[in-house]
């Protein structure tokens, strides 16, 4: 789901036949891709990665405690 959102964000800044938005004094930029979504998505990817790592770490610890990944048996919290 995260990847879908990231892809959507990138595409929202895309232009057909666009070029990379590198600024130089001897060039006239006419049709450039919007750079902001790319910067934002790279941040979002880092956030997503850290979250995934945290989830995996917690999942490994859960397996140590419960001996299973079966969510019907991981049920110490109720109510």
């Amino acid at each position: 789901m995260e990847y879908a959102v990231n892809l959507f964000f990138i595409l929202s800044g895309y232009r057909v036949q666009g070029r990379s938005p590198i600024f130089a004094s001897d060039q006239v930029i006419k049709n450039m891709v919007d750079p902001l979504p790319q910067a934002i998505v790279s941040t979002a990817i880092v956030i997503g990665l850290s979250l995934t790592l945290l989830l995996v770490a917690i999942a490994i610890r859960i397996y140590e405690k419960y001996g299973t990944f079966d969510i019907t048996r991981i049920n110490k919290l109720k109510g």
Partner: protein
């Protein structure tokens, strides 16, 4: 010199400094985090005095690039929240120095704690939507790992649940931000509000984005259909973190972000207002009823948090200036009283060895400090007069009547009776229980650093009423109301 960035710089610097020295010097985490949070709370009170005169302060990270650069904005509402967050964070840090000794590697705790404070301050001062999202994720991820800090089976399970649900909520937020960016071509909140205001009528995309944000931030605020993570996370986390989560995190990440977006960017519409009121009413009633069935003290407090968040959302949903005032004042009272009660629950657990209401040995005779502070917090949340909770609830109820919605007023009154009921159920065994003390924990006293924050919070919840008096606190609360009132339905 501009002081705004220091709200993020100080806690981040502390978070990086603590692991450097934490392994070698044993108590460094305690000292650094207490110093950092006390300087933050002094800074936030100083900032409040600045804002009372200047109303809005803006800091641009890159000078001279105003529409493009990153901006940090502090106005009446943010400074109101900044003062609450930083002063409670200081008291919780002070409490942690006594409480956290039972864990190994306390420096990791303080690092994550300071990251959480940095994230919350970042949410409050950021002037553009994506920075707000990043700061929100910092606070949330620090929160996920802090819930799992004790690595017991329950804590891990709660943290996993919280992290998965939080990740889903964040995805909704990011999609909403992407859609808004492609619609308005800006991320700066003020520019965004101007672009949206210049379009005639609420377009369909704004409605869709509103739905996404209601899901995302509603999940962080734990309004009822999205509340499943809260009772687990708040009852399993180490006690100082429960106090932070319940007293601050759900309000900053949920209520503050929600109101900032809906009042100040979109402008409140009747549809959103109706949905918000609906969610609020369900939260108030359902969580109030569920709290009745709880025998774990912290779990009962967690359900009560959902119910009280419902009150705040109700006030925001009704949206008249009086209702907003009630909501913000209730937010203030609830932050203080709920942090107090959670810190208290930790102290009770420490000195009696149990959190189960059916096995309470009665704390009032054993430790009057814990007993009386607990009583004051409970009275404030239940809404028994002279304390703050009573005034904020009655303002919300009057606002509902004034807005010609007597049914909402009736529900608010009914839920406050419900609240009184389940707190009465909790407070009787806590104060006067007669079960035998658990032999394993006999005689463990709370330390002075644990007692001071509880006493200070109890005093604050008594004198919090002063915020309503003209001249003293009115300016502080009033600026925040004006900021939100700009976006209310006209």
């Amino acid at each position: 010199m501009n002081l705004i960035p220091f709200f993020v710089i100080i806690p981040l610097a502390a978070a990086f400094f603590i692991p450097l020295v934490g392994k070698r010097i044993k108590r460094s985490g305690d000292i650094v985090s207490v110093l950092a949070t006390i300087s933050l709370s002094v800074l936030s009170i100083f900032m409040a005095s600045l804002i009372a005169v200047q109303k809005v302060l803006v800091y641009n990270v890159i000078r001279g690039a105003v529409p493009i650069g990153i901006s940090m904005v502090v106005d009446g509402l943010s400074v109101f929240m900044l003062v609450i967050v930083n002063s409670i964070a200081f008291l919780v840090a002070l409490y942690s120095t006594g409480y956290i000794k039972k864990y190994t590697d306390t420096w990791k705790f303080y690092t994550l704690f300071m990251l959480m404070v940095a994230g919350m301050n970042g949410v409050l001062i950021s002037g553009d939507l994506f920075n707000m999202y990043v700061a929100l994720e910092i606070a949330a991820i620090a929160g996920y790992s802090l819930v799992a800090f004790g690595i017991d089976a329950e804590e891990l399970e709660a943290a996993f649940k919280y992290a998965v649900m939080g990740a889903v909520g964040s995805s909704f937020m990011l999609l909403g931000i992407a859609l808004l960016y492609s619609y308005t071509a800006t991320l700066n909140m003020a520019d965004m509000a101007a672009v949206i205001a210049s379009e005639a009528g609420a377009s369909k995309i704004i409605l869709f984005v509103s739905a996404l944000f209601l899901m995302g931030f509603g999940l962080k605020a734990a309004l009822v259909p999205f509340h499943a993570w809260l009772p687990d996370a708040h009852s399993s986390a180490p006690t100082p973190i429960s106090a932070m989560l319940s007293g601050l995190l759900i309000k900053v990440l949920g209520i503050y972000a929600l109101s900032r977006i809906f009042f100040n960017i979109f402008g409140m519409t009747p549809q959103v207002s109706t949905i918000l009121i609906g969610l609020a009413v369900i939260s108030m009633i359902l969580a109030g009823i569920l709290a009745f069935g709880q025998y774990d003290m912290k779990r009962l407090l967690a359900y009560s948090s959902i119910s009280q968040i419902g009150y705040i959302a109700l006030g925001l949903g009704v949206g008249t200036p009086l209702a907003i005032m009630g909501a913000l004042f209730h937010l203030f009272n609830h932050s203080i009283a709920k942090s107090l009660l959670f810190l208290n629950a930790g102290a009770i657990e420490r000195s009696t060895g149990t959190r189960d209401l059916r096995q309470m040995p009665g704390i009032l005779a054993r430790s009057p400090v814990i007993g009386y502070t607990n009583l004051i917090g409970t009275i404030s949340i239940c809404g028994i007069p002279p304390l703050g909770g009573f005034w904020s609830k009655i303002i919300i109820i009057f606002a509902c009547i004034q807005a010609d919605r007597p049914i909402l007023a009736f529900i608010a009154i009914a839920v406050s009776i419900l609240t009184l009921g389940y707190y009465f159920k909790a407070v009787t065994p806590i104060l006067f229980g007669s079960k035998a003390l658990h032999s394993c924990n006999m005689g463990k006293k709370i330390t002075v650093t644990m007692a001071i924050p509880m006493v200070v919070l109890a005093i604050l919840s008594i004198i919090g009423v002063l915020l309503l008096l003209p001249n003293t606190g009115r300016a502080f609360l009033g600026d925040a109301i004006i900021v939100l009132g700009r976006g209310a339905i006209r």
